[in-house]
Amino acid sequence: MLSVGSDGRNDDPLRREVLSLNEQVKQLVRTEHRLSLWQQRLDGQLERVEALNRLSLQAGEATEPATILVLALDAMLALFSYEQAIAFLRQGEAYVAVARRNFLSDGDGTTRNDPAPVSSPPTPQDIHEPLLDEDAPWLKPFHAAWAASLLRGEDGSGGPCLALPVSSDRMLALLLFRRGQHLTSPLEVLPQRDDLPFLRLFGAHVAGALRNLLLYREAQEAIRFRDEFLMLASHELKTPLTTSLLLFQSLRKHDRLQCMSAANAESLERQILRLNALVEQLLDVSRIRHGRFAPRRKDADLVQLTREVIWRFRFDAEQKGSSVSLSAPASVVVSADAAQIDQVLANLLSNAIKFGEGRPIQVNVDVLPERAQVRVHDSGIGIPAADQARVFQCFERAVSLKNFGGLGLGLYISKRIAEAHGGGIGVESSVESGTTFTLWLPRQPTICPGPDLVH
């Protein structure tokens, strides 16, 4: 074996050739070294990609946001050598600790749903970027509180910390990670500044998973709505159709179509009108959803419209045993589509009659500085507080279909009409004490752009 001697001479041609070849060997080794470092980096990146994929797959099976956050904590802890982790989930305007991992106190770190040592995030403000502790001084006292609550005698200054926001258009959750001591093993890894893009990506994945869960839940709800509606619409449309069909078949069987009695004709007409009203409601919903429900405003007397509606429903009220009283000034003129406002008032009054338990119904028309309003008060079954917002949604009802018919569209349509006029509808109610619906309209004409009519 030729070698480089201590005298360093290289005047022998063979020796020069060997040295030249050895330079190539060195070059190859250097290249392989470089490749090996790249390979290490690639392996690290691959590991992260796998962690993200695994997280996405597992999160896709989750049915609760807390489960997604637990998966996120575990995925991060598999990649980085933190020892404690907490996930805070936004609920309304507050943050609630929903998941925690702790390798310091119990050794295996598998504790789930323990009371978190800190119950709220360390900063009242949303953050939108992953923050290492040197970038977030507010983590310091948090560090100390965390340490003191979890590990006896640990130095409160602690080791490295990470705040990882899970943000969409706003912060949905906050993941906090902490290590009790600084690392000594080169094989244990904590994120550095270079890792911030990955951390952003990770946060986006978790946010995506949370959003997907939300969309999934909304889709499930929409399916439920659709199924309920199909059942409801079938029922509602079938009743008058069946009645009409039976009547028609009876008359034809006895060859009496030519001499239909007034009562029969009236019954048939009533059923057809009911069918027509139901179909009109469905068409209204379709018009609203397609933005073709713009009011045609003219000066209209709100008091006069109210009187007419009360007059029209007088027999229905009588039939239910309710009296309807009106308290109103002589005239209140608003700029409105009279037919649409008539539709709203009819809906409010028919609801008051339907759910008023035969008790008196009070209607008030008032003029306030900036608006005119009609209040329809019944003393009937009332609406539970939890359902009051829901009654204005499409196909929603606060009562069972079995006891009270209807498609559950009336208040939805009414609210859209009121909003299209620049007004609104509100409800005040308590169970067994009755309900007051208030329709209010602006006293000055309001221009409402088309898109507002959609939803």
Partner: protein, 408 residues
């Protein structure tokens, strides 16, 4: 009394609790007064004294030996986390155990070797001719000259003694390492345990590097420091093969990439023609490199490249040869002293499945498994003295039960 071997491991963060837990797992099922030896290996995230206190809480006054490391090995594989401790307990009326420790290793490794031999002499003399003996030895891996230690130890011993072990390590930061002896912790020391009695030890070693390029000459060396190669600062020659310019920026990832291969006087058919020497640190001021096994002035070396694909292949070949030597018997425990460089630094998080599990499968699922990742592995080659190796794995199989395995 049937031999008892138990292994436990803990990752608890509290050192005393971790020691207790690992020892508790190891002694589970042990007969009363059945613990003859406690071996402990741990990573250095722990306060080592408290850790041993926890072990001793459970094992009492049983002889104890071991050292710190960059990772512990059990049947669950290699664990290189900051907080990992593994404990093995052994007991058998067929075996006798004697733990020893000597200090001031870096100051006088020759004296350490001689002292160790003298302390073991009485026990060795008591050993019957038909009995076997093996010395498990754990020197400080960053302090003294292990080659001198071993040379003086073997030179002073009056009887042949099979040796196996590894040097103590830490988390590849070149900080202090720790040697354990009967519940006490020391640095810059050598701990060892002599096992004698009616049992059969088998030791084998393999390495996973191959030399490349031309030979170089160590032109100046002192103790464990190689100052010059081919009349140039050692770092200069080393740098020519590395994609790194600055000695002060070297990390273990660089050190572990290339080593030096020193030709053996007599090639070993199982091991190869070269001893591998890996540096652990550099002195940026002088360009000198520190090798835990010294390389003498005048030695001819070649650059050696690691071969990840050979790690398992050569270990398996080694294991098969060991097992083939006693086809009718089954080892009760295998001790594995594995180079730190061929663990996580080579395989990342896949060390266990890529290099430990295949080996364990070869020996069988019922064999107790215990060891650590060291800075230098100690074992003899087929012919010749006990040596310190790098980039190697030493396997030490102990056959205690004549008929087969006690398992655990």
């Amino acid at each position: 009394m049937r031999p008892f071997i138990g292994v436990g491991k803990s990752n608890r963060r509290d050192p005393r609790e971790a020691g207790r837990e690992a020892a508790g797992m190891a002694v589970a099922g042990a007969p009363p007064d059945g613990i003859g030896l406690v071996l402990v290996h741990s990573t250095v995230g722990y306060e080592q004294g408290a850790l041993l206190d926890g072990v001793v809480d459970v094992t009492g006054k049983a002889p104890l030996s071991g050292c710190s490391s960059s990772g512990v090995i059990t049947r669950a594989g290699s664990d290189e986390s900051d907080h990992a401790v593994a404990v093995m307990v052994m007991g058998s009326d067929r075996l006798r155990f004697e733990t020893v420790q000597v200090g001031a290793f870096s100051e006088d490794p020759q004296r350490c070797g001689r002292d160790l031999a003298q302390r073991l002499a009485r026990s060795l003399q008591r050993t019957r001719a038909d009995e076997h003996r093996v010395l498990m030895i754990f020197p400080d891996g960053t302090a003294g000259n292990v080659r001198e230690l071993l040379r003086n130890l073997e030179g002073t011993l009056q009887v042949p003694l099979l040796m196996a072990g590894g040097t103590a390590g830490e988390m590849l930061q070149m900080g202090p390492t720790y040697q354990f002896h009967d519940g006490r912790v020391a640095s810059n020391a050598v701990s060892a345990v002599l096992i004698t009695g009616d049992f059969l030890p088998e030791v084998s070693v393999n390495q996973c590097c191959d030399p490349v390029g031309i030979e170089h000459t160590i032109t100046r060396a002192k103790d464990c420091w190689v100052l010059e190669i081919d009349d140039k600062p050692a770092w200069e020659t080393y740098r020519e093969y590395l994609d790194t310019q600055d000695a002060s920026s070297l990390t273990m990832s660089d050190f572990c990439y290339i080593s030096l291969a020193e030709r053996l006087d007599e090639p070993d058919p199982e091991y190869g023609e070269f001893l591998v020497r890996s540096p652990l640190k550099a002195d940026p001021a002088t360009g000198a490199l520190f090798f835990p096994a010294d390389i003498r002035t005048g030695a001819r070396v070649r650059v050696a490249l690691r071969r990840p694909e050979e790690v398992v292949a050569r270990s398996l070949a080694c294991a098969r040869n060991m097992l083939a030597r006693h086809p009718s018997r089954h080892p009760d425990v295998v001790l594995q002293f594995n180079c730190s460089f061929r663990a996580g630094l080579l395989f990342g998080r896949h060390t266990t499945e890529r290099s430990i599990t295949p080996l364990q499968r070869e020996f069988g699922d019922d064999v107790a498994w215990f060891g650590f990742n060291s800075y230098g592995e100690i074992a003899p080659l087929a012919h010749g003295p006990t040596r310190i190796h790098n980039y190697s794995a030493v396997l030490c199989a102990l056959y205690v039960e004549p008929g087969g395995s006690v398992g655990c």
